[in-house]
């Protein structure tokens, strides 16, 4: 006991903080392709800030929800700007997230000792997609309403935990105003909390576990000020990018949700298009089973990797092949959905 306290007292808090930010970062981090973890984080902060701002105007109740979103988009001072920032930062964030995922996968950064980073990462991935879904549903236009209904029904079809989960999410047997309220709570309170915890753990895991060694990179440089400056530069650059994108592509709103009629153009946001296409072309049960299987393989991949490496597979090559195939299939399914 005594020695621990003495050891803690040895260094002041200020010195500890300085030590923490002056940790070393391997030189391969100079390359942008390795910095794509920071990009989603910056965009997440923008999304969070604009999201919080919008909660000052949004009303989570059926028609009033649509009205309030419409008001934000066309009446509230700078409403279009804030909503536009929110939409664009989210879309860009999910896109760079995919890039980050592909990079991590292809470089096998989850190799032994690094599995925890991967596991937290997959949780983050699912949580962010959930945020995307819940957020989209809050607009309560045609796409929101029917998207909600379809996803709830999909959830219900899942084996075992499906029906109770769907019941919980919907707040009953059917989509109602309770559903909207629950999705709103998820989107603004529960999921953000989870996200912050996960992001924190993800960063701590990286700090503690370190970076996976990359061939060809030998030296190290300081996190602060070097890497931090670089991230700062990227952050400001991103801000300029999204501010300009908002002015070029201001936010729009579709028709109000009509529970009695499905609009012909109901389509999920692009990041769900691939999954959507998959369940459209494949028969029901196998399609859902396929998704579940994919999720299981996805989460446990480091262990599959370890298993196969021990059996002699060159996982470096395998990952490149699987990674490329996955990207290709994703792109094809997404574009197919958009074009048709």
């Amino acid at each position: 006991m005594e020695t621990t306290i003495e050891r803690i007292k040895e260094k002041s808090l200020k010195d500890r903080a300085i030590d923490f930010i002056q940790k070393e970062v391997p030189d391969h981090m100079y390359s942008f392709s390795y910095c794509m973890g920071a990009t989603p984080l910056i965009l997440f902060l923008v999304a969070a800030a604009t999201g919080i701002l919008m909660t000052f105007y949004y009303i989570p109740f059926s028609e009033r929800a649509y009205e309030s979103v419409r008001a934000i988009t066309s009446e509230v001072y700078l409403g279009w700007f804030i909503r536009g920032l929110h939409k664009i930062s989210i879309n860009l964030m999910i896109f760079t997230l995919f890039l980050h995922l592909v990079r991590v996968f292809v470089t096998r950064a989850y190799k032994t000792q690094g599995e925890l980073k991967w596991l937290i990462g997959t949780m983050l991935f699912f949580t962010i997609l959930a945020m995307g879904f819940t957020g989209y549903s809050l607009v309560y236009d045609q796409v929101s309403y029917w998207g909600m209904t379809v996803v709830m029904n999909m959830a219900e079809e899942m084996p075992l935990f499906g029906p109770p989960l769907a019941y919980l999410l919907r707040g009953g047997a059917e989509v109602s105003e309770l559903t909207l309220l629950r999705l709103y709570d998820l989107h603004t309170k529960l999921l953000p909390l989870l996200l912050i915890l996960l992001i924190g753990s993800h960063i701590i895991a990286i700090t503690v576990l370190g970076f996976e060694k990359v061939e060809g990179s030998e030296g190290k440089h300081l996190f602060y000020p070097e890497h931090a400056m670089k991230v700062g530069l990227i952050a400001v650059g991103l801000l300029i990018l999204i501010v300009n994108l908002v002015m070029i592509f201001p936010p729009t709103i579709g028709q109000m949700a009509n529970p009695l009629e499905v609009a012909s153009n109901v389509a999920p946001p692009w990041y769900f298009s691939a999954v959507y296409k998959w369940i459209t072309i494949a028969p029901r049960q196998p399609a859902l089973f396929g998704i579940l299987l994919f999720c299981v393989v996805f989460v446990s991949y480091p262990y599959i990797d370890r298993f196969l490496t021990e059996r002699g597979f060159d996982m470096g090559r395998v990952n490149i092949v699987i990674g490329s195939a996955a990207v290709l299939i994703f792109a094809i399914l997404t574009l197919w959905n958009v074009v048709i």
Binding site: Y77, L78, W80, F81, H221, L222, P225, E226, M229, K230, G232, L233, V236, G237, L239, I240, V243, N244, V246, M247
Partner: protein
């Protein structure tokens, strides 16, 4: 560990931030331009009933929108103030709990615009429909026929609006915004011939010029 000089990096960050500042200033400019002048209509409880139902059913939305941008709207002069009718009016009918008349004649307008209405009634403009039954209109009513007169001459000069037995307006005589229209209440003319409804503010082109511009008959 080399002590690197981050000067270039810092200048970059500073410069980019200034570009961000410029971008955001443009955003502010775009916003301010969009929210300049706006009319603030005042809608009373009764008028709200009219507007809500009409907008919901998609009937007369253009009229409602015109009105909302008018000076009348700012002063709370809405649907019921002009369209309300009394029991003794022959074109009055019950509509959703209100007693109204479709036609708002110069007599109705004179409730507030007494002087203008009086001057108009005494003017030659208000007599515009008079000639139609006379020999002056031989070319129209007799040579070309009543249909030509209804869709041509009367559209500018004004018809004599007739109320049918069932209380509805004779479709041969209404709609009509002719300058000399003879209204069911006896007053002559239509203010909205020049002060286009439902915004009323600006007097539109004189009838004769309209005649040339429209695809009306060439009598």
């Amino acid at each position: 560990m080399q002590t690197k000089d981050f000067n270039l990096m810092k200048y970059f960050i500073g410069a980019l931030s200034l570009i961000l500042f410029i971008a955001l200033t443009i955003v502010g400019y775009v916003e301010v331009k969009a929210s300049k002048d706006e009319i603030r209509p005042y809608i009373s409880a009764n008028n709200k009933k009219c507007i809500d139902c009409h907008v919901k059913k998609g009937i007369g939305e253009g009229q409602v929108n015109d009105w909302k941008h008018s000076r009348h709207a700012e002063k709370g002069i809405g649907c019921i103030e002009c369209h309300k009718a009394e029991e003794k009016d022959i074109d009055a009918y019950k509509h959703e709990g209100f007693l109204i008349a479709t036609i708002v004649s110069p007599k109705d307008c004179s409730k507030c615009h007494e002087d203008a209405s009086k001057e108009f009634q005494e003017s030659h403009h208000a007599q515009a429909a008079k000639f139609i039954g006379s020999m002056d209109n031989v070319l129209g009513s007799i040579v070309e026929g009543p249909a030509a007169a209804t869709s041509g001459c009367r559209q500018c000069h004004g018809s004599e609006v007739k109320v049918l037995a069932n209380g509805k307006l004779d479709p041969d005589t209404w709609p009509n915004t002719g300058m000399g229209r003879i209204n069911p209440d006896g007053s002559k003319g239509s203010c909205s011939a020049c002060h286009a409804r439902h915004s009323f503010s600006i007097a539109c082109l004189p009838c004769k010029a309209q005649f040339f511009y429209s695809s009306g008959t060439t009598a």
